[in-house]
């Protein structure tokens, strides 16, 4: 595995029951940058994203083949602890989904799952909440109401909270499944700023339907079609000079 590669995908196939959603895809996703997965609906981009933390296995009828190497380990091996994997690979969803508990408890939810009681005294948790909320610039707005239910926040705040709750676990990779699609224009702008901010610390993989967003916010793009990776290049190259005619057609909006 090359240095600087965060997620190494080799000949990875995935079936939902009898339907093959991914047809032996390979790619190296680089560390410390934002990579966008783009392509029309049903092309397999979300399926690929949800493979990186193995959350698409929850429906039970999923079979896979190939390798996905994260931090030097094939995460598809049967001896991999999914809890430990998900600690290293956080996820932000399409619709903000804070848990129906307090803001404070949302932020420390992961810590309480992964750390034994002795390693998380109240002071440590308090500190983690403050620094996570500062990181997503929610601290000043929320510090006086950390006991409020997280589901009472605005959508933009909810999505920021969903990012903040990943931070105390110190993940290496953050997966984002259309993180802005439920937000209005100003919300999108601020979440994109935040994502750009985060890339200094994390590897970010983002699924998006929004070409403009992929172009604005990401460093590399992977274009997928019908369960295959068609093209994987730096974002500018993909938009200025697509190599594949299908990529060109999609980017120009001839299908989607």
């Amino acid at each position: 595995m090359q240095d600087g590669v965060s997620i190494d995908i080799r000949d990875y196939s995935l079936w939902y029951g009898k339907f093959q959603a991914l047809l032996g895809v390979s790619a190296q996703i680089k560390r410390g940058i934002i990579t966008s997965l783009i392509g029309p609906s049903g092309c397999g981009k979300t399926t690929l994203l949800r493979s990186f933390n193995r959350i698409n296995e929850r429906y039970g009828n999923v079979t896979t083949q190939g390798h996905i190497t994260i931090l030097g380990k094939n995460i598809l091996d049967s001896d991999v602890s999914v809890a430990a994997l998900r600690k290293r690979v956080g996820m932000v969803f399409q619709r903000p989904n804070p848990l129906p508990i307090s803001i404070y408890e949302n932020v420390v939810f992961g810590m309480k799952s992964h750390l034994p009681q002795a390693e998380r005294p109240r002071a440590v948790l308090d500190q983690a909440v403050e620094s996570a909320l500062r990181e997503v610039s929610l601290w000043d707005a929320l510090k006086d109401g950390l006991d409020r239910r997280a589901t009472e926040l605005t959508l933009e705040q909810q999505q920021k909270l969903c990012i903040a709750r990943l931070l105390p676990l110190k993940p290496d990779i953050i997966l984002m499944d259309e993180p802005c699609s439920a937000l209005d224009a100003s919300g999108i702008e601020r979440i994109e700023e935040l994502i750009t901010e985060l890339k200094r610390t994390f590897t970010i993989v983002m699924v998006t339907h929004n070409m403009a967003q992929a172009r604005r916010a990401s460093d590399e793009c992977i274009f997928m079609l019908m369960g295959e990776i068609i093209e994987h290049t730096p974002t500018l190259d993909m938009f200025m000079n697509p190599q594949n005619s299908k990529t060109a057609a999609y980017i120009e909006g001839r299908y989607g």
């Binding site: 959350i55 430990a84 956080g90 989904n97």
Partner: protein, 312 residues
């Protein structure tokens, strides 16, 4: 009205016929809707009507008082007393024992069915729960006498098989299906995105249950438990057979007891219509109605209050 073309004529005729039918149907549906409220009110009035002649003569809080004594001598023609304290205590005691059994079992079963069982076994469990709910209470009474009673004599050191514990066990078993199906409904109503969020943070299934689903479904689970309590308090036949029907305040789990419901059921047959005895039984009925209505109302308020809190 302007001139009509032929086609508009029959359409207009049809729509006026539809209007004509619409009105009575609407009235009928409205009546059906109101009937539930009217019936509840009517039942209250009916029970009150039959209890009313005695109410001014009842001593409520004295030495032989209704709420304060255990002296139930309602059949006496001279110097009858109407103390139902032992029945109230018995009623709540047996319901408490029942809930100690039914709430943990019911919630655990609901969690299993909604979160752990596969899709096919889930259907089987649901059918099983429904059948359990359909067993007539008199059959539970038989089970109490013939199976649970001897076991209690053998293993719990009871002198009589029919007692508080027996009643509690039977009532618990009877309340479980109600609690399971209501609790399962409310767990299923928790949006899947919550499960996914917790899962993506690395939580295991148990953590998802007690750190996400229980808080999220809290109101529904509470309501399930409260309706279970309501069921336990209102149940009659099985309790009459299982508790030993003895008018005393229990001091241990194996004491025979009686309840408000069991007293009505066992004495109503002997009570002469319109006699003070019959009126006193209706008074007990009135008390029961108030208790069960209060429980159901509280359950509803709990659900509504929490819905409001979570929809914000």
């Amino acid at each position: 009205m302007t001139e009509r073309t032929p086609s508009r004529g029959w359409r207009a005729a049809l729509s006026s016929a539809a209007d004509w039918i619409e009105k009575p149907i609407e009235a009928l549906i409205r009546a059906c809707g109101w009937s539930s409220i009217v019936l509840v009110a009517a039942i209250f009035c009916f029970v009150f009507w039959y209890a009313a002649p005695l109410l001014p003569h009842i001593d409520w809080f004295g030495t032989d008082g209704f709420f304060t004594s255990t002296h139930w001598h309602a059949k006496e023609r001279e110097g009858a007393t109407y103390g139902v304290l032992a029945m109230i205590v018995g009623n709540f005691a047996v319901a408490l024992v029942a809930m100690v059994i039914a709430i943990p079992c019911g919630l655990a079963a609901a969690v299993y069915i909604s979160e752990f069982a596969g899709p096919r076994s889930k259907e089987w469990f649901k059918v099983g729960i429904e059948i359990l709910a359909a067993i007539p209470s008199i059959v539970w009474g038989f089970i109490a006498i013939t199976m649970i009673g001897p076991l209690l004599i053998k293993y719990a050191g009871a002198t009589m098989g029919t007692n508080l514990l027996n009643g509690g066990i039977v009532l618990g078993l009877m309340s479980i299906p109600l609690i399971v199906s209501l609790a399962e409904d409310s767990l299923r109503a928790v949006p899947d995105s919550f499960r996914e969020a917790a899962m993506a943070l690395g939580a295991n299934r148990w953590e998802i249950v007690y750190r996400v689903l229980f808080p999220a479904a809290r109101s529904g689970l509470l309501a399930a438990c409260m309706l279970g309590v309501g069921r336990a308090i209102g149940e009659t036949m099985a309790v009459l057979l299982a508790t030993g029907n003895k008018n005393q305040i229990p001091t241990s789990l194996t004491d025979p007891i009686t309840t408000l419901t069991a007293t009505i059921a066992s004495e109503m047959g002997d009570a002469e219509a319109g006699s003070p005895h019959s009126q006193s039984l209706f008074t007990i009925g009135l008390l029961l109605l108030v208790i069960t209505c209060a429980i159901n109302l509280t359950a509803n308020l709990v659900i509504r209050g929490n819905k409001r809190a979570s929809s914000n």
